[in-house]
């Protein structure tokens, strides 16, 4: 895979996780107790042997920069190739409106030109999976396709999600592709992992820019199915689409199931993340737990059921937490009660407070709040 580079297309594309992405980019959204969304596509690429990865930055890139650093956790801190952070286009001027990811790619054309790899894989970070690209890439070479899209057959999809469906013929040629269809007709959902020659990506960028179109997936691929030979390649492992708050919540809860947890974390390759020195999690004599994902550095003196705890979370005596996601360093004080809640980082829930959301509409408590 020395001949393949990766692009992580970290652009909003109309996706918002409301308060969760108010101050961070989608790619740096925390998930699964000790990860961020970008850990998955980045680890997948590295595990497949890709050594040159560009990440399109959107404007709220501070937390992403903190998390990724020079790419050391992924072994991408090299002098040749390695990790490249590609600034967004619209920060060069004062009054520009963000048009779409194509603009972002266009701004960083010189990076694409400079890279020596012949092929490129474009991946969107909000779809989480544990994937090795070797098979898909070999398939791409064998079929001689212009573009290969990786997909999964998903019987049920939630209306509140954000996904792209494809329709193929018997030879896996893509006949139709719909980005966020209002009515879903196809069961095959794109993993938003697109394999192609770099020259084709450059051609798509050029076509889009010169015709004033700005969405890579819609304008570059979906509307050019007659122009390019686009083929589909199936994935069978677990995937998590986190295209809306309810989907994001549901996916975190889903990972509490042992089979899904194992598939994601003990599957094809390790999922790397930025390491942080934290002591192991401490459970006191009062702790009562039942189905939990937890990072290190937590202190559990209360009751926790079916929840996801990030680094350094404190659940104090008598507090009860159920079906909730609690991010880094947040604290639930004595006898507080939480159910179906997403607590962002550095939040403090005061003693005795009760907060309840609904599984379909989890309550989100913004970063740094004291309640």
């Amino acid at each position: 895979m020395n001949n393949v580079m990766g692009i992580i297309n970290n652009n909003p594309q109309g996706i918002s996780l409301k308060e969760i992405t108010a101050h961070r980019s989608l790619a740096s959204t925390p998930i699964a107790a000790r990860h961020r969304l970008i850990d998955f596509p980045l680890s997948n690429m590295v595990n497949s042997g890709i050594k040159n990865v560009g990440i399109l930055l959107e404007s709220r890139f501070r937390s992403l920069l903190d998390h990724i650093g020079p790419g050391k956790a992924w072994g991408l801190d090299t002098k040749q190739d390695g990790l490249f952070l590609l600034p967004p286009a619209h920060i060069y001027g004062n009054n520009q409106i963000y048009k779409g990811d194509i603009e972002n790619l266009y701004t960083n054309l010189d990076y694409l030109h400079r890279s020596t790899q012949e092929y490129v894989i474009v991946a969107y970070p909000f779809i989480v999976c544990n994937l090795n690209y070797r098979k898909a890439f070999n398939h791409h070479i064998k079929t001689g396709a212009d573009i290969t899209v990786i997909y999964k057959d998903l019987e049920t999809m939630h209306r509140d999600s954000h996904y792209t469906t494809i329709k193929t013929d018997s030879e896996e040629k893509v006949l139709d592709m719909k980005v966020n269809p209002d009515t879903r007709k196809e069961t095959r959902v794109s993993l938003k992992r697109y394999i192609m020659k770099k020259d084709i990506l450059l051609e798509i960028i050029d076509n889009c820019v010169s015709t004033g179109q700005w969405d890579f997936e819609k304008n570059g691929i979906a509307s050019h199915l007659s122009h390019y030979d686009v083929r589909a390649f199936p994935a069978f492992d677990y995937i998590a689409i986190t295209g809306s708050v309810s989907e994001y919540y549901r996916r975190n809860m889903e990972m509490l199931q042992p089979d899904i947890f194992n598939n994601l974390f003990e599957g094809i390759g390790p999922i790397f993340t930025k390491p942080k020195d934290e002591a192991a999690t401490k459970y006191t004599t009062n702790s009562k737990v039942n189905n939990l994902l937890a990072a290190n550095g937590c202190y559990i003196d209360g009751e926790v059921e079916s929840s996801v705890l990030f680094r350094g979370v404190k659940i104090h005596h008598g507090a009860r937490v159920k079906n909730s996601i609690i991010m880094q360093k947040s604290e639930v004080k004595e006898n507080a009660v939480l159910e179906n809640v997403i607590i962002d980082k550095n939040v403090r829930i005061n003693p005795g407070k009760e907060l309840r959301g609904d599984p379909a509409f989890p309550l989100i408590i913004e970063k740094g709040s004291v309640i």
């Binding site: 459970y283 994902l293 937890a294």
Partner: protein
């Protein structure tokens, strides 16, 4: 190389025979500790946190394991342009080569390394002590008092003085006499094996000690007494934090129980102002199933807990299956405890396996009799291991 004010030399050479089967395949400083760490993480992190960026690690045995754990030192911010951490095994010279004969000889054989940095001071440390200490304060006292050598000391209970090297000081903290494990102690100030020396002076002592065929080439037995004999200005530095030598099975287990204690006796691993760093293995979060019960324990990431865990410390990569019970134990990395097994007051070595329904640590429990299962051992189905046994 640029000049450094102080260089630390970490004596990590001990074979750790008192830790028995736990050090069969790994050097003592690489023994896992506290769910997340290895012993050597403590002195290395203390160095970094104290602003010391040049550390030589003296190791006696095949250096590969320690070398590969330490790597480039980046885990402790010791991958510096100048200095950083360097593993120093005994090596062959044109004139031959030899094992380090004692703690002083280990430093003596690496004078060239130290001289690269032309330091004013040398900090000598051990690799098997668990504590948090700001060496820069000790250095500040050393400089302020114009000392030639400083030795960190701690008050120990009078009844335990016969286990330590005891320092007798005058009212200005100057050390006048050193008693090794005395029957009739004159003070209860025990040496913690942490020394600061003026480097040019120490070099002189090391060189004359190296000529002395009767010497054991040991800091405690030879160098310090020689300095005291010549009325050198050797001062005590009083340390009042948590400090524990984990060189025995008993103290190793005890220190883990101290960690779990509600008021953890002063060693707070959660304190963000003095972080102990380690080589952070890349692992998934800990997974606690619907069938698990956990009480009064520390559990690392990369674990799967489906059984009952009580008053225990669980390292990464451990799986505890449904119905298994773990009590008062230390479970080292990558151990599997299968369904229905029972583990009581036991230290389980790395990569060991307890098969279905085996029972470890049963029978009458003596206060400090700990059961130890060596690295990579497998305890077969239904097997019963008596309390206090050592397997491996």
């Amino acid at each position: 190389m640029s000049k450094k004010e102080i260089v630390a030399m970490l004596l990590a050479g001990g074979k750790g025979t008192r830790l028995g089967v736990l050090t069969k395949n790994i050097a003592k400083p690489a023994v896992p500790f506290g769910a997340e760490y290895r012993l050597i993480d403590f002195p290395l992190s203390n160095c970094t946190n104290s602003g010391i960026d040049t550390v030589g690690v003296l190791t006696q045995y095949e250096p590969l394991v320690l070398n590969s754990y330490i790597g480039n030192g980046s885990s402790w911010d010791l991958d510096r342009r100048d200095g950083g951490v360097t593993v120093l095994p005994p090596y062959l010279r044109e004139t031959g080569g030899s094992w380090y004969k004692g703690t002083a000889d280990a430093i003596y054989q690496n004078i060239n390394y130290i001289d690269l940095y032309d330091p004013d001071y040398i900090l000598v440390l051990s690799g098997d002590h668990i504590y948090k200490m700001d060496y820069s304060r000790m250095l500040a006292q050393h400089k302020q008092w114009n000392a030639e050598a400083s030795i960190a000391v701690m008050e120990v209970p009078w009844e335990e003085t016969n286990r330590f090297g005891i320092m007798n000081t005058d009212d200005k903290c100057q050390i006048k006499e050193f008693q090794e494990k005395p029957e009739e102690p004159k003070s209860n100030l025990a040496s913690l094996g942490i020394y600061i020396f003026n480097w040019p002076l120490l070099k002189d002592y090391l060189e004359s000690d190296a000529q002395n065929e009767d010497s054991a080439h040991d800091f405690g037995k030879n160098i310090i007494p020689a300095m005291l004999g010549e009325q050198r200005k050797v001062f005590a530095y009083n340390f009042d934090g948590y400090w524990k030598d984990v060189g025995t099975i008993k103290s190793y287990w005890e220190t883990h129980m101290d960690l779990l204690a509600e008021k953890n006796k002063g060693l707070n691993l959660f304190d963000r102002s003095w972080v102990i760093s380690s080589v952070n293995p890349n692992r998934p979060p800990q997974f606690v199933s619907r069938t698990a019960t956990i009480s009064h324990s520390m559990i690392n990431k990369g674990t799967k807990i489906c059984g009952k865990v009580e008053n225990s410390v669980i390292f990464f990569g451990v799986e505890i299956e449904e119905g298994a019970v773990i009590k008062d134990s230390v479970i080292m990395p990558n151990v599997t405890i299968e369904e229905g097994a029972y583990v009581n007051k036991t230290i389980m070595g790395q990569d060991s396996i307890v098969k279905d329904n085996a029972r470890i640590g049963v029978g009458e429990t003596q206060e400090f009799d700990i059961t130890v299962i060596g690295e990579g051992e497998t305890i077969s189905n239904g097997k019963i291991i008596e309390h206090g046994s050592v397997i491996g």
